[in-house]
Symmetry: D2
Amino acid sequence: MCNSIGVKFRVTTFGESHSKALGAVIDGCPAGVEFCEDDITKYLNGSGVFDCLKTRRNEPNQPEILSGVYKGRTLGTPVAIVIHNKAADSSQYMQLEGIARPSHAEYEYYSKFGLYDPRGGGRSSGRECVSRHAAAALADKILTSKNIILEPSVIELGGIKITDDQHIGEILKSVLEKSSAGDSTGGIFEVKIKNLPAGVGSPVFQKLDAQIASAVMSVGGVKSVEIGSGIEAARLSGKEANDVFCYDDSGALKTRTNHSGGICGGISTGFDIIVRAAVKPTPSIYIEQDTIDFYHKKNVKINLKGRFDVNFTPRAMAAAVSTLKIIILDNLILSGIIPPDKI
Amino acid sequence: MCNSIGVKFRVTTFGESHSKALGAVIDGCPAGVEFCEDDITKYLNGSGVFDCLKTRRNEPNQPEILSGVYKGRTLGTPVAIVIHNKAADSSQYMQLEGIARPSHAEYEYYSKFGLYDPRGGGRSSGRECVSRHAAAALADKILTSKNIILEPSVIELGGIKITDDQHIGEILKSVLEKSSAGDSTGGIFEVKIKNLPAGVGSPVFQKLDAQIASAVMSVGGVKSVEIGSGIEAARLSGKEANDVFCYDDSGALKTRTNHSGGICGGISTGFDIIVRAAVKPTPSIYIEQDTIDFYHKKNVKINLKGRFDVNFTPRAMAAAVSTLKIIILDNLILSGIIPPDKI
Amino acid sequence: MCNSIGVKFRVTTFGESHSKALGAVIDGCPAGVEFCEDDITKYLNGSGVFDCLKTRRNEPNQPEILSGVYKGRTLGTPVAIVIHNKAADSSQYMQLEGIARPSHAEYEYYSKFGLYDPRGGGRSSGRECVSRHAAAALADKILTSKNIILEPSVIELGGIKITDDQHIGEILKSVLEKSSAGDSTGGIFEVKIKNLPAGVGSPVFQKLDAQIASAVMSVGGVKSVEIGSGIEAARLSGKEANDVFCYDDSGALKTRTNHSGGICGGISTGFDIIVRAAVKPTPSIYIEQDTIDFYHKKNVKINLKGRFDVNFTPRAMAAAVSTLKIIILDNLILSGIIPPDKI
Amino acid sequence: MCNSIGVKFRVTTFGESHSKALGAVIDGCPAGVEFCEDDITKYLNGSGVFDCLKTRRNEPNQPEILSGVYKGRTLGTPVAIVIHNKAADSSQYMQLEGIARPSHAEYEYYSKFGLYDPRGGGRSSGRECVSRHAAAALADKILTSKNIILEPSVIELGGIKITDDQHIGEILKSVLEKSSAGDSTGGIFEVKIKNLPAGVGSPVFQKLDAQIASAVMSVGGVKSVEIGSGIEAARLSGKEANDVFCYDDSGALKTRTNHSGGICGGISTGFDIIVRAAVKPTPSIYIEQDTIDFYHKKNVKINLKGRFDVNFTPRAMAAAVSTLKIIILDNLILSGIIPPDKI
């Protein structure tokens, strides 16, 4: 249950960083959606923004659809997608068994489960996101056909705001300079969800913003989620913060502002949904750190080796976008706006 | 389903601002917990922090336990609690039917459901929280017996940071001055969850921080949720942000910092869980505003009358605390740390 | 969770036989359904078939709708219904505390929860069904508007098949004669669900027949559930059992037989759904029985006093019908055949 | 959601008869369970009772564990198991596209989803059960360690009761004789669940018998489910049907009878749970049948070719046993009798 998301369009993911494979089972996808492995490959490639910041292992990422699709169309039955781990190198991790990499989750998994997979972070690895992308590739086919678009952008990296395109080169340089000392940085991203009609979401505990907060916070490394004006909403007055509706001359509904970020009372307003999230710096750094050996209950030093992201904000953003696609589609199906059984 | 929270300790709430009653059904509470109506009344009274900021209707709030308790102990069967609305005055709202109060949710509910309850905000009213409190009163009995404590504090009001007790008088004055012009303000609150053992939570989609984000964002008016260093985590380097474990001389596990806010990989670290949230200013203000009549599709002016909170940060904080108690208990039961069937 | 049924049209019930009240919260009912307390009262009265067989306590059963309805129409928010227990007399039960009434569930509840409510069977009482009826009264309004009809009939009582109307008088006499010696009898009922379109239900674990089996078996005292030819299907050959489709002269789809009972592969065929269930004899009898005192771990004799049904087949049938209405509606909403948000 | 079963030990299955693979994802298995591919292979082989009645395709059924297991022990993360379809021959089915095989589910799937997989029954094929077995192989490891045993037996085949071992040869001959004319037969099986402690299950909608009924009815071809005396309970008197508890001389709790089949009020009594189910005759027969071409809306004749089970009662029984293992384990975990996070 912990590894599933969505109610009607329900995605269950599996896989560790170095297990044989990762994957997703999508239950409740409407029948009749055109979908093939190439859609997933394209989607996976398309999620590769800011590539220069990443230096992760070189996985071919060849997805395989095992079920739920016949003659290129979804059947309404579970779509199982598998992506094999082929380039995983477990050797460096095996000697770290029992040693907590600072701000990774080895100790926490061990506390919960009494044992853990030391290879590459196991289930808590960022590698987990490939399952989200595989499922989102299918959600994306349906959302795109309804013209519902998610627009992500990195808006801050290593403490430096990204204001325009010209700036990015310098920011990246600055980010890489920081990392040249073996340290890492974090960042902030924003996602706009466009063209979602008014009336999507629900009251009280499954508010659309609550679902979004959960989806985005479920991405490893995310430490805050904001909707609309977010934290700044606390510093506005009511008069400033209220998004006043009006009909324009053509009779179309408008608002002058969008402090609410497209959601009010847990239900979409029909205007852009705006989500922002902060991503912590990569916890894997090339600097010696104090830590513990929790097998032997003693203090030790750790020196990490391997290939790490200097900054994984873009990667977290891509995972957030994919997770948001899943829940937005689920809400559209639950509302009957997208028919549940067949497109 | 939208009005339920929790998996094993599962709370379903109901009620509109001016319906006959509000309430909660708590399914899956372990048997044997001492619980009576007085516990709820005390809990409701105890959640009344910063009373000077509130001017809401004068409800007696006499809770009634309808089922699930016998001779003062829970039976393991659903505990239904009802709180009647007695002081609701619908008169001023009836004339506003079809008119959107700015940044309230009338238009959104109407878009979703095709009709809406115009009296006092209906289901989207802050009054909804009384159901959360009633259920949390029961959760609180169990959590307290395990010494799990939630410590809330308002840390910013109307843009002014609250640093110590002495300061509060002036802040409140400042906040009330702003509101004397008929406008309102927002704020930021923080909740510490203390004494939760390591190993609570789950991987991937039901990460403890994801559940917390959803729970807190489900409180009306909350526009951001942060865990640990939150948005500031994006501005730290990896070396700064990593919470380094060590054993002290007595062999006890420690960390020097708690940037992660007590959760790593979606699972508790055993240290304080730290949650922060921003609350928007009260949307009901005593200033004339533009808006729409969505029944007749025309632009109108609106002048709200009635009793509104000048600032509902304390009230949102109390609702967040109650919702967090429900999900923390649910996670403890799901982990078997608190036995599911009988205490 | 245990006290809820349905996914989108989700009913949560509460209440013990002698608690202050019983009731139901219906979450996910589409908005715009005309519904008032009188609908529930009529429904409760209408479920009173074969009244001569019943001698239960004289409850006024005045339902109260606490929320979710405004100006006579559902709001899309939770509809909470409460029915107070007014005629409960706990006196005779209090002296039985710790003593297992044979084939009642006191010992089982005590084993699970470590304590139990000895008054009138507590949560395991047939009284629980009033909550199902209250929720079904709402489901019924929607189903009726779609011309989906449930036709129940008692087909066997005390081992005697009911073949036609003329027979019933004698059967009842025979049933009552058996019971005049203080003993009780059981029976079999059948429910036909008419006009459900083809294509309702789902593959594998949530097959429509699996959902029906669960719903009917969840009624206290039911010991078997059959679909279509049921147990007799095991004695047919494939040639006999196959329901052959054909188009008649008008082009309408027909089958000559309906051994499958309107469901194939877990999905409705578009023909009558046929469900049958066996109900055990009333466990409360006016004959001295051996049993145990599980508080003091010793063998004792028990002589039950009070008002019991001589045969509760009709009552179980009514409860089954109500539960079936809930799940049939839920499936129609999940399929999008009935719109989820608003009628 | 339709393809999942269990709440905490939650199994999601996927795969069509002729898709690349079938499989299961098991979420919520406690960590620390010894489990390897050989366990699955052995379990699959062990479920092959009454082999002479089966003539299905010759699949190697080599299961592959993709995730969730490290060094031979479960990690607490999702265990994904895949079984590739290697011997599927789709050729004969492709020419049947649009033609309803009598009492198969092609028309129903087509009605629901607007398209369907014509190859070997698609998702509604008995082949689906291999996923249940794969998941049950894991459940079985835990149940066996707790000495909870499921004892299945076929008790009727082709209308002939199986009373003792000597008889079986003749019954099989008789069954095969019937089938030599190209026709098929059905049967009845029984499963005893032994050593389940008292107190497992839940009140009202998730009663243990309701869950069992759903689990067993979810197996393709099952048309009835009985608990304990089942349909015969309707023909007993209360005095006969009541299972009277007593303590024997050693102080152990006993009952003279077990009409209730080990469940009362939805909760286990601590005595054997007894489940019976009727299985319809194999719908695929070697006799020409009338049917429809629903693509072209016309009546046609059908002559099925291929390898079919003469009687699939043993196969359905095996699938029922596996599904029961999953839900029994789930209930034990939900009750905390088996720890949820780690064994």
